[in-house]
Amino acid sequence: MTGMKSYYVSRAIISVAFGALFATGSTWWTGILVGALAFAWFLLAPHIGRYSVHPEFGITALRRDERAQAINDKAARNAFIISMLVLGGMIVYFGTFALTSAPIAIFKWLLILGVLIYYASDFWLRKALS
């Protein structure tokens, strides 16, 4: 893994900034923990086989190859479609049966649902396409 210096330096800077962001809004040790976890992920990322490694691209050395991009696209599509169907269902439910406006809090849960579906799809597709 030669020629990755600019990748590691840039990720160290991002980790410090990320940790500092948490430290300002929380305790100092939370900032250190978050920064360390972020940097640990950046150290691990080139070795887990999730990304293709191109040291010649410097700070953007990690790229999705076409299989990873296809998985990402399908997972995003699944998350979007299911979230929109659930949203449509809830709007119909609140407009037809509950006869009230849909509470704004459902959007938070819809966002969480979308994220969960995205990662579940990503996990399942990675298993199916390997």
């Binding site: 293709s52 790229r63 190859d65 076409e66 299989r67």
Partner: protein
């Protein structure tokens, strides 16, 4: 019609590891594994890059199954 390939056999003939071939064409080892198992259909560009890296005509390495389910 399904797309089939001889990538594994060709790769082994040319003494490439999955890791080395992945490095040459700029993809992950998982992508090479998925192509060899025919779970992932590569783009024309990647298929050409694989054929070029293994110095093999693309038509010998990738083919469409004929109506009898055999290699033409």
């Amino acid at each position: 019609m399904n797309l089939h390939n001889d990538l594994k056999e060709t790769r082994l003939k040319k003494n490439f590891t999955q890791e080395a071939l992945a490095g040459v064409v700029g993809v992950t080892r998982q992508t090479i594994i998925a192509i060899e198992k025919e779970k992932f259909v590569p783009s024309v560009k990647l298929a050409l890059e694989l054929a070029s890296a293994l110095d093999t005509p693309i038509g010998k390495m990738f083919w469409l199954e004929n109506s009898q389910g055999e290699k033409p």
